[in-house]
Symmetry: C2
Subunit: 295 residues, 2 copies
């Protein structure tokens, strides 16, 4: 058995991602000697203890990080600025501070200024999740075979980066480092925009007259069913993602809207060749995904 990478790991937020990390850490002795969980809600703290996900739960994030050599922000990204401010004076020298948020420029902006000297700040993002949320939703194998992207600021300590990389590898993830702005742009098209479209179409359907709405539910063909699976995700998490990747998301939505309008025009004017070509491109991307074994 490998030595634990962190003597004491503090998880600030313990929903789907945080509780999956806790379960993985519990399953082996190779990640953390001790797990401390912070959750703002009394009910969550009680549930975390019931599930045996942490050695200690705290209602105060400052108490949770005291003496921890690994600290992971696992709350919605909109809560990061407040958390960073609260924990900054209590972070141990030499600790690694990271996160699992879906937007990375916002984390540099909101957390970066609070990080004291001697603490290694390396934002991260595991590309893993389900449409479920809360501490009951996690599972130890969530990260296996999935990417975790790290966006280390310039001059990040190489040993700290290697240690965090090893942490995710032990979770089963493939790890890649990239620039935060590039991360946000890629995620805007592969994840944030699809979620925005899914949430929107559910609202559009919900606005139909009562009779049609019932039938929308009754006859949901595969297209709509897949959309609602995406759309069943956590409202606060996604609100924060959208607001914290505003520029890239709005740019991708603008590009998408132009393309959708071009498709609408082809439908209106009966341009079958244009429609066929677009569907053919979808197939091509799909084949690419299958070749990369991500499908």
């Amino acid at each position: 058995m490998a030595e634990p990478l962190f003597r004491r790991l503090a998880l600030l937020g313990i929903g789907l991602i945080g509780s999956s990390l806790a379960r993985r850490a519990r399953a082996g002795g190779d990640l953390a000697g001790e797990i401390i969980a912070y959750a703002p809600s009394e009910a969550t703290r009680a549930r975390v203890l019931e599930l045996g996900l942490a050695d200690r739960v705290e209602a105060d994030p400052a108490r949770a990080v005291a003496g921890a050599d690994g600290v992971l922000l696992c709350a919605p990204v909109g809560a990061f600025a407040g958390l960073a401010e609260a924990i900054a004076p209590h972070l141990a020298r030499g600790a690694i501070l990271s996160d699992v948020g879906s937007t990375k420029q916002s984390v540099l902006r909101d957390v970066g200024p609070h990080v004291p000297a001697g603490v290694h700040f390396i934002p991260g993002h595991p590309l893993a999740g389900t449409e479920h949320s809360g501490p009951d939703a996690g599972f130890a194998t969530l990260f296996e075979g999935r990417w975790t992207l790290l966006t280390p600021p310039p001059d990040t300590d190489a040993a700290a980066l290697a240690r965090l990389t090893e942490f995710w590898r032990r979770c089963g993830a493939m790890v890649k480092t990239m620039d935060a702005a590039h991360h946000d742009r890629v995620l805007a098209i592969v994840s944030h925009l699809p979620h925005l479209l899914a949430f929107t179409i559910c609202g559009t359907a919900d606005d139909l007259a009562d009779e049609s709405r019932q039938e929308v539910l009754e006859f949901a063909a595969s297209g709509f069913r897949d959309f609602t699976r995406i759309a069943a995700s956590d409202p606060v998490m996604w609100r924060d993602v959208f607001l914290n990747n505003r520029e890239a998301l709005l740019e991708m939505l603008a590009r998408f809207t132009e393309d959708a309008q071009a498709m609408a025009r082809a439908v209106r004017w009966g341009d079958g060749a244009y429609i066929e070509d677009k569907v053919e491109r979808g197939r091509k991307i799909r084949r690419g995904l299958i070749e990369l074994k991500q499908a």
Copy 2:
């Protein structure tokens, strides 16, 4: 074993849906005494014989329907007008003529005028499918537990409607009759618009600069993956669906676009409450689906 509902069943087109019906008919003796398949392509006809899906294959639709007491159009809906014209003089008196197309007003428009007196014309649409196509893609259980919608014109013969209903019930489907215009409107939102959005976002991603495109494939998070599954469907089938449900699809896309723009505005101006509310509605629809056991 129940008597076969049709002495001779002609399947005009034998891709995913047609070959699933053929497999189901082969699996039991209760649907068809004999199966005749029409396919315009030599390769498909050879493959259908290899797979043992039909007793006879025909390159001429008129020959395929001769003497058949059940005729199902299983080609892309854009081919229906030509097929109807070709087979009309050869349909047997008393035969049931139906189809499996995703648009129903267009079928009334394209097929209806050709139907000779004494032939029972009842358009239908099984809400079942996968992203695969062709005679190898079908399977006998495709329709089990799924809806089939029938849109009988006024004055449809009650016995013929009962017989076609029984045909789909024996395939495992739940059957409902409705007005063709209402069908097209409901399908526009539950199926046609989601597919249009999925095809479009694949194109939007494909248009990104080369470096990003590679990473779109590499880091496809769950959102985009689900979209590409939808987008992997048959180009000609979907071209025909879009062009033959033009009005309802464009109306639903216009409603959707207004809603997406409202979401964009909320993102731009930081209206978190609006975004949260929309995500919450998505969850509500999802819960509704789960309660209806369609999820």
